[in-house]
Symmetry: C2
Subunit: 625 residues, 2 copies
């Protein structure tokens, strides 16, 4: 079922919900249903007519999963729960300085409908009291009231992921009886806290309060705040992250009226309540919650709503200062190239060199989010590894986000390390759109230095290995003759000459397919010069290939032809101009009929080679696990 269907309330929309959480919701709903007390608000006549037994709970996760119980799809008017979203809109469209000029951020001990204003700053104290919300309502864009109303409806529709309308009866009731709000508006006009016709500002404000929503809608709206401003159902970005932070801050200090201190202590979620009997709460990075139950207490908060939020905060440990930041988990693992090598197949000589010298190459895999604390850990590990590394590959493959702080710190680290004896090599940075900024910061930082960046850790590691081997005078790039090939070790001079007699020298150009998956296997190859790539088809992505290994001079490929003459299991492609020796399997078998030791020697060498590769692969698996 798609996420929009869930929101729109397909009949058995909750059927797929996860049992443990659904069970909890059923239990808490049953338990809190027994709590009596409070009464529906009646200062707006229309609100007093509600069925006081209505009771619904909805939870929306940051990836759009919805859990509901009870009357979660019964419509009611949003009332003050509209305030944080209108405030988010004002910040988004006017920016912080302009909004702060019009309304403050100081909590006040006064009631939500207080007429007390911050006269020193000439603005209402905060956007969660009516005065502040009226000032914020004035900031809705549009030339006419109709346009402003439409823009407001569009905002809330995009927040709820469905079309939201006004409950006309409640709107008219508020318009007719909202004397106190009218008084507030005229007080504000008197000191120029608002500039337009108070009646028009109030009409929009009353409409905003009379929006008809359900607990499901409000859970999705709260989840949008929990999800850094992106609606988790539509993936539509509604508020910038910085403004979400401002909205949550003000909800946290001013969202529950006089109950703020105790709420912060007992429940500790940024929240907002409305006199229609709803409470929303946003748990950043996790969920949005809405509870709807009309009877409210003397402070204007839903009695059952508070009971549910208290229980949920305790049961699920959702308090803001419940710490689940774990900076240490940024270090996924680190290893050195003596134990884990790149996919480049190497000659015995190279392998021996890498086993001895590979410790000078370190690979550090980061994971998760990079923010101050986790980046500090990462850079500290980097500093530690640098002490005995010539090369460090930093792999960002599993980093899903790097904030500004992280980008700047990494940039500073690159500069600091530029003149040390260690070369930093970056891998997998630009594969993810979310690391754009890091790429930019690194390029800026690198100005003047060579910034090494590779598509993935394997390519980076291969490059580091090549550097190390080149420095050690290894034979990379030189041409191998047949008697230098490990596969023929142990053959007598005469046997070697016999094998040479059936060898065909072959030349390929860059990009040539030397052998192709599925073709009959009739030759096996010894690489004399150049490198080749071994690629397999990705069965889940037709037409796409994955490079599983690269092979350099002195090594063999297609050896399985020796055994069963079956078909090729991979493509082998020349990376550059390549010279290799092809050995016909049939000719070799004919030769072996008279000289069995040729075959025994070659198979013995092959077994030893495979066994060594297998031993290394198992070591690698054990490091990677």
């Amino acid at each position: 079922m798609n996420k929009l269907d869930l929101i729109r309330g397909a009949p058995n929309a909750d059927g797929g919900a996860l049992a443990p959480i659904q069970d909890y919701l059923n239990e808490i709903h049953a338990r809190v249903s027994k709590i009596e007390g409070g009464a529906p608000a009646d200062y707006i006549p229309e609100l007093g007519k509600v069925d006081p037994t209505l009771f619904g709970i909805a939870i929306a996760t940051v990836d759009g999963q919805l859990y509901t119980v009870g009357d979660a799809r019964v419509p009611f008017t949003i009332q003050s729960v509209s305030k944080p979203f209108m405030y988010g809109y004002a910040l988004q469209h006017h920016g912080r300085p302009r909004v702060l000029q019009k309304v403050g951020v100081e909590p006040t001990g006064e009631a939500f409908n207080s007429i007390v204003l911050d006269e020193a700053a000439n603005r209402p104290f905060n956007p969660m009291v009516n005065a502040g919300a009226i000032a914020v309502a004035e900031m809705m864009q549009g030339d006419t009231l109709k346009q402003r109303t439409n823009n407001m409806l569009e905002l809330f529709s995009s927040l709820a992921a469905r079309k939201i309308d006004i409950d006309e009866a409640v709107y008219k009731s508020e318009l007719a009886t909202g004397h106190r709000n009218r008084a507030i508006a005229y007080m504000m006009l008197n000191t120029a806290m608002i500039e337009h016709d108070p009646e028009e500002v109030l009409e929009l404000y009353f409409r905003q309060c009379a929006l008809s929503v359900t607990a499901c809608d409000l859970a999705v709206m709260a989840a949008t705040l929990a999800n850094d401003g992106t609606n988790p159902v539509t993936d539509h970005k509604i508020f910038d992250t910085q403004y979400v932070r401002d909205v949550l801050t003000v909800m946290n200090s001013c969202g529950m009226y006089d109950y703020a201190g105790e709420w912060a202590y007992e429940v500790g979620m940024p929240a907002k309540s409305g006199v229609s009997g709803c409470i929303i709460a946003a748990i950043p990075g996790q969920i949005g919650i809405c509870v709807y139950a009309p009877p409210i207490d003397s402070q204007g908060n839903s009695v059952r709503g508070i009971a549910v939020c208290q229980d949920m905060s305790r049961e699920f440990q959702l308090h803001s200062f419940y710490n689940h930041t774990n900076v240490r988990s940024v270090l996924r693992r680190d290893y050195r190239a003596d134990l884990v090598r790149s996919n480049r197949l190497r000659t015995l000589e190279e392998r021996t060199l890498l086993a001895e010298e590979g410790r000078k190459i370190a690979v550090l895999e980061a994971q998760g989010a990079l923010f101050f604390g986790s980046t500090e850990q990462l850079l500290r590990k980097l500093t530690e590894l640098a002490e005995n590394s010539k090369y460090i590959v930093v792999d960002f493959k599993r980093v899903h986000h790097a904030d500004n702080a992280a980008c700047k710190l990494i940039g500073r680290a690159v500069r600091a390390m530029a003149n040390s004896g260690t070369e930093l090599v970056f891998a997998s940075i630009d594969t993810e759109g979310s690391l754009d900024r890091l790429t930019r910061v690194l390029s800026e930082t690198a100005e003047g230095h060579a910034l090494r960046q590779f598509r993935d850790a394997d390519a980076a590691l291969e490059w580091c290995e090549d550097q190390l081997l080149a420095g050690k005078g290894s034979s990379v790039g030189t041409k191998f003759s047949l008697n230098q090939i490990n596969l023929f070790d142990g053959l007598t001079v005469e046997e070697c000459r016999l094998v040479e007699g059936i060898v065909r020298p072959l030349v390929f150009d860059k990009g040539d397919v030397i052998m192709r998956e599925g073709d009959p296997a009739k030759l096996f190859f010894v690489l004399a010069r150049g490198t080749v790539s071994v690629e397999i088809k990705l069965h889940d992505k037709p037409g796409r290939h994955k490079r599983v290994a690269s092979i350099g001079p002195g090594l063999t490929f297609g050896e399985m032809a020796l055994l069963d003459g079956g078909t090729r299991s991979a493509d082998v492609i020349a990376n550059e101009k390549v010279i290799c020796y092809g050995l016909g399997v049939e000719e070799l078998h004919e030769l072996a009929a008279e000289h069995p030791n040729v075959m025994i020697t070659i198979l013995g060498n092959l077994t030893r080679e495979f066994s060594e590769r297998l031993r290394h692969a198992n070591e690698e698996i054990s490091v990677l696990e």
Copy 2:
């Protein structure tokens, strides 16, 4: 350098600090040094004598790394920054209900030294105003003032990770001039908000305010709050996590006096300031900060302290509602047993069966912290995997913490899944002390069901494979005869008989060492009945072994003896009563001299076997990467 040396201020203690963060601190220190304004507090005569140019910053991470700049080791008196820690002490030793009875949690718009009390509840409004702090000071345990003073000194010494003393001059100055606090104490005695002699309570309170500390000390104390109550330098648990949450909540709403709203908006860190010109802030899970610069503004907050915290919050994105919760990262990876198998070596028949049926076994690796949001993701993935799995292994190896919410949810999931067609198998739960609770909850939950738990994912996977193979009527456990062994495939009847002639049947008991690492390799073995383990010595842990594979009937081990007659590379130990066939390598070579095809066939089979194992190992590496 050890952490305690760092704190105690070894001469070049900061030499090892990480360049990027140290650079930032140097820059911000230089920049903010230019900010003038404010004046040192002088309501206590002794405080007015301070050098107003002193300016130090210290940051301590949750694992005890210290970064400092400027006058970070100059002593000053702690003043109001003592309040949150005394509050934590009161909660820790008297419990929440008793403490809430004595002091509230509501912010107040009044000044810190206000005499206004919450007369309705008959308690001071909160523990951050002087009245509340005096009520909290009364809760220090000890029969005499001397004992209470000693307990207080012990508390702060354990928080700072070094011995803390009282600045007698400041203490005497406060004692002599603290008339307003004396008035507050007597007001409180009047309404029984305190019960003991006000002079004795005040003496402790003045001593608490006159503790002599440095910015380094306070950074470590703040980091203790950031680190869930465990001092990151000494690893000593000082406050329970739940009380840390309460302390942070009150710091957040009441820590910065009148500046609370704007501080929450602009800086957004739970913080506390003191009139000596210090501010501490705690970033849960990340760092503790202390800035010391004596000139304070009219609200009592250090001018430079606020400037540094504002900049640091912006630069490092440390605002409380800066969201770096990432619930999705709990899913490390999942795979199925057709691609990744246990370390049990299997016969061709078994491998074929597992390649076909292995998809029915899923392995799900969790990582990081399990809390509500991440557990919801984990359980949702579990539900998804269960749709086409007979067995699911849930591996907790990389889960470092599971909170109550997570334990309960997982317990509920186990119950819910008990009667489905999928069997849940848990791995690596009790290896970590932090998962104790989960073990307990799972055992309770499992009451009546068989809860399957294995030491690690490999053992769990092997068990699932065995179940699957047993269900398919595989030959696990039956005895193999020589002509069923893959290694001899392709030998003629006569050749087979020749080989049988040189075979020695061998029987081992459980625990017997069949071959030992380093011994000369003279036999290779074919396992006919039972299973054996291959173990290697852990070179970094002398005397410890790691099981790298287990081998079942129909498979060979010690084959490398065939090739070079070198030494054994691992121990092989019988898991139970085992029957195997030993083949002398020398005899085999003698046989091959006359019948070369025997050797060619065996080596060919061996190469094929290794090649297949290598292919599988590479597939596994590619899945594990």
